[in-house]
Symmetry: C3
Subunit: 279 residues, 3 copies
C-alpha cells in the first residue's frame, strides 16, 4: 500500500484539502493518506521545511511526501520530484528542496523537473499523476528532466554563526510550536562540536540559562515538588535534536508561551557563550 503524506498551508475549514485527497484517491484508490499539517504559516517555505523535516523519517522508505505551500501553478511555475533519504518529495521549485536537504546534501538521490500538462489546473493535478506513476512503478527519471542542485531554487534560512575564537554561537529562534516552545537553529551536533563539554551561558531576550534539561520534567525534586516548577523556563534538545527554550507545562492559550512570557519569538536572536578558560 502506498503512503502519501500531505503538508500544506490550506487550512482546515475550506474544501482545499478534500480536493487534493479526492484527486489522489481517484487515481490511487487504495493509498493511505496521512495529514502532516495543513496549518503551515501561509506561503512560509521555511516553516513547511521544518515540519516536513521533522515528520518524514518516521514513515517507511518510499513514502511520497507532498508539500503544497506557495505552489501556484501558472505559466512560469516549476515543480519538482525529489528523491531524498529514501523518500519521495513533491513540491514547487520555491526553495523548499534546498531547505529540506541543507544539512544532508549527500542524501539527495535525484531531483526531477516535472513536466506540467495543459489539463493540469493546479499542482495537485500534476502531483496526483506523478503519485500514480510512482505507485505504478515508474522511475523518477521517466517523469521529467533530471536536474542538478544548481538548477533548482536555492534558499537558506537563518543559520548559526560561530565567533572567531570558537567560544560563542550566535543563533536565532526559527520555529514556535503548539506548546509555545521556541525552537532555535542550533542543533545538538553543532552545540557539542563548538562547546566540547564546556559550561555555557545561554542568553535569549533578557533571560539567561546555564543548563540543558535531559527531559522536560528534569528538575531537582529533592527540595521542591515537580508541580512547583510549572512555568519554569528550561533549555532542552527537542525531538529533532534542536536546542529549544520551553516553559515547563505552560499553555499558550491560557498561561502563556515563550514568546508571550519571555518575549522570545520567531527570528529573535539567542547567544550561547562557552567558558573560554576551559579550552
Amino acid at each position: 500500500m502506498s503512503i502519501i503524506t500531505l503538508t500544506t498551508d490550506f487550512g482546515i475549514k475550506d474544501h482545499f484539502v478534500a480536493i487534493a485527497k479526492g484527486k489522489l484517491l481517484s487515481k490511487i484508490p487504495h493509498c493511505q493518506l496521512v495529514d502532516v499539517s495543513h496549518c503551515i504559516d501561509l506561503y512560509n517555505v521555511g516553516n513547511a521545511s521544518y515540519v516536513v523535516s521533522g515528520a518524514y523519517a518516521s514513515f517507511p522508505k518510499n513514502t511520497i511526501h507532498i508539500i503544497c505551500v506557495d505552489a501556484e501553478l501558472h505559466e512560469n511555475s516549476r515543480f519538482l520530484l525529489m528523491r531524498f533519504d529514501g523518500h519521495f518529495f513533491l513540491a514547487a521549485d520555491n526553495g523548499i528542496c534546498s531547505l529540506l536537504t541543507q544539512e544532508r546534501e549527500d542524501a539527495v538521490e535525484k531531483v526531477v523537473l516535472l513536466q506540467n500538462k495543459p489539463e493540469h489546473l493546479s499542482c495537485m493535478d500534476l502531483f496526483a499523476d506523478v503519485c500514480a506513476a510512482i505507485n505504478g512503478g515508474a522511475d523518477a527519471e521517466s517523469l521529467g528532466e533530471l536536474i542538478g542542485s544548481e538548477d533548482y531554487v536555492g534558499m537558506t534560512e537563518l543559520r548559526p554563526r560561530i565567533s572567531e575564537d570558537g567560544n560563542v554561537i550566535f543563533a536565532n529562534i526559527v520555529y514556535e510550536d503548539h506548546y509555545g516552545n521556541a525552537v532555535s537553529n542550533v542543533s545538538k551536533k553543532l552545540f557539542e562540536e563548538v562547546g566540547k563539554g564546556r559550561p555555557f551561558l545561554f542568553t535569549g531576550s533578557k533571560y539567561k540559562m546555564t543548563r540543558i534539561n535531559k527531559y522536560y520534567a528534569d528538575f531537582n525534586t529533592e527540595t521542591r515538588a515537580l508541580s512547583e516548577y510549572h512555568g519554569s523556563s528550561l533549555l532542552i534538545f527537542n525531538d529533532l535534536e534542536m536546542l529549544q527554550v520551553s516553559l515547563y507545562k505552560t499553555n499558550p492559550a491560557t498561561s502563556g508561551s515563550v514568546k508571550s512570557l519571555l518575549g522570545l519569538g520567531y527570528h529573535d536572536p539567542i547567544i550561547i557563550e562557552f567558558e573560554s578558560k576551559n579550552e
Copy 2:
C-alpha cells in the same frame, strides 16, 4: 472500497467526529473516510453547501458525502439521501439539498426521504445504516420514499441581480476562506454572459478594480519585482470559478485579510459595471 466524506460543524477538539467515524467503521470496516471540513460555521447551511460543492466532484463517482450541519435528530426532523451528479449525499432536510443543486438541477437523479428508526439516537446512526446499505448494493429507492424537489426544504442564498439594461451585476460576498479571500456569488459563466468581453469597473467597499488576474501571481514584473506586489488587491476566478477578491500573499493571522484590510466581508455587496458604449 467505499469512500465516505464528512462535512460537519462538529469542530476538531471534542469526541463528535470520532463517534461518527467509529459508527461508520463498525458497520463498514474497510471504508475510506475523508474529512472535508469539521469547521463549518455553526449551523450555517450555506457555508456547508459552498464547501461541499467545492469538494465533492474531485472524488470518484459513487462516493458518499455525509453532511452533518444543523442536523439534530428529533421527532420532527427529516433526513435525505440525494443522488446528484453521480454522487450520494446524506443530509438533514434543512435546505442544503436545494443549495447544492441550485445551479445544476438537471443533475439531481433522485431524492429519498429516509426512514428513521427508534434505535437511531442521532443522525449518524441513521447515516451509518444507509452507508452500509449503499455499500451492500442497495438501491436508493429501497431506503425510503422517493420525493420530488417540491417535497424537500427549498433555500436560496443571496444571488446576483442584473440591472435592466444588462450593464451591471449587483452581487455579494458569500464566503471567506482560510487565506482571507472574499469569494463572491458571481460565477465566471455569469460574468462572461453579462460582460460579453466588455471592460468593467468592480466596486467593493470603497475600492475599485478593472482587471481580473489569470493567476494570483499575474502581475507586471517588468518594472517591479513580484515581491513588491505583496499585499496588492486583485480579482481572480477561484478554483470553483467564482469571482474573488484577494490580497496577494497576505496572512489573515498577521498582515490581514480582505475583510480586515479592505472592509469587505461576508454578505457585503459588490458591484460590477460593464462599459455600455461597447455594446
Copy 3:
C-alpha cells in the same frame, strides 16, 4: 483490519501527529488510524478522559485507543496498557486510567505496566511496539506486568455532592465544547436517582432553569417561531447523558458561548434543588 485511535494534546500545526502515525504505519502497514482529538487542553488529563470516554464505545471492540497527554518518556515515567470494556487503552500512568474507569470499575479487565526499552525515545515508540504485538495476537499479559488498581495512579475529578436530606445536588461544569456548551458532571442516572421525578430548580451563575429539553430544538413553537428561540438558554442531557447548559444556536466565535454570555465556565459550581414536599 486493526483500528487505532489517537487522542493527544499535540495540536495540528506541527509534525508531532505525523510522527506518531508514521511510526504506527511503519509497524502495522494496514492499520486504520482515526484521530479522536489532537486539541486536548495541554497536559489536561481530565479533559482527555472526557473526550476518550465519549468516543471509544462507538468503535468496534478490540480497537486500540492511544492517549498521549502528559506522557513524557523519561527514567521515572510509567506507561500502561489497559483492557477496559472490550477495548485496549494505551496511556501514561498519570491518572487517566482511573478517570476513564471511575464510573465503571467493573469493566476493567486488566491493567499491564509496560516495559520500556532503551531504543524507545518517546512513548510513541513504545506504543507502536505494543500495538504491533496486539495486532499480531499477543496477550496483554505478555507485554508487561499485570497490576491492580492500587498500583496505578488514582485521580479524581470534581464529583457531584448530594445534600444530607437528598434534595440538592451540588455539582460543577467539567467541560466546554466546540459549540460553547457547558457540560456538568451530573449524569442522567444520578439526576434521576436523586430527583425521583420531582420538579427542580437549576442554578448556574445567576441564572435559573426548571426544565430539561428533550432535544435542542424542544421549544414551544405554538406561540413563537423556532428561530425566535435562538440564543435561549436550555438544559439538556447531552450525547454522553451528562447534564449540559446550552444556548440554542449561538456561536462562540460570533454571538457567544455559555461561558461568555452566562458567565458559567470550566469548574464553576451549579446547584440543582429538587422540591422537597413531593417526597
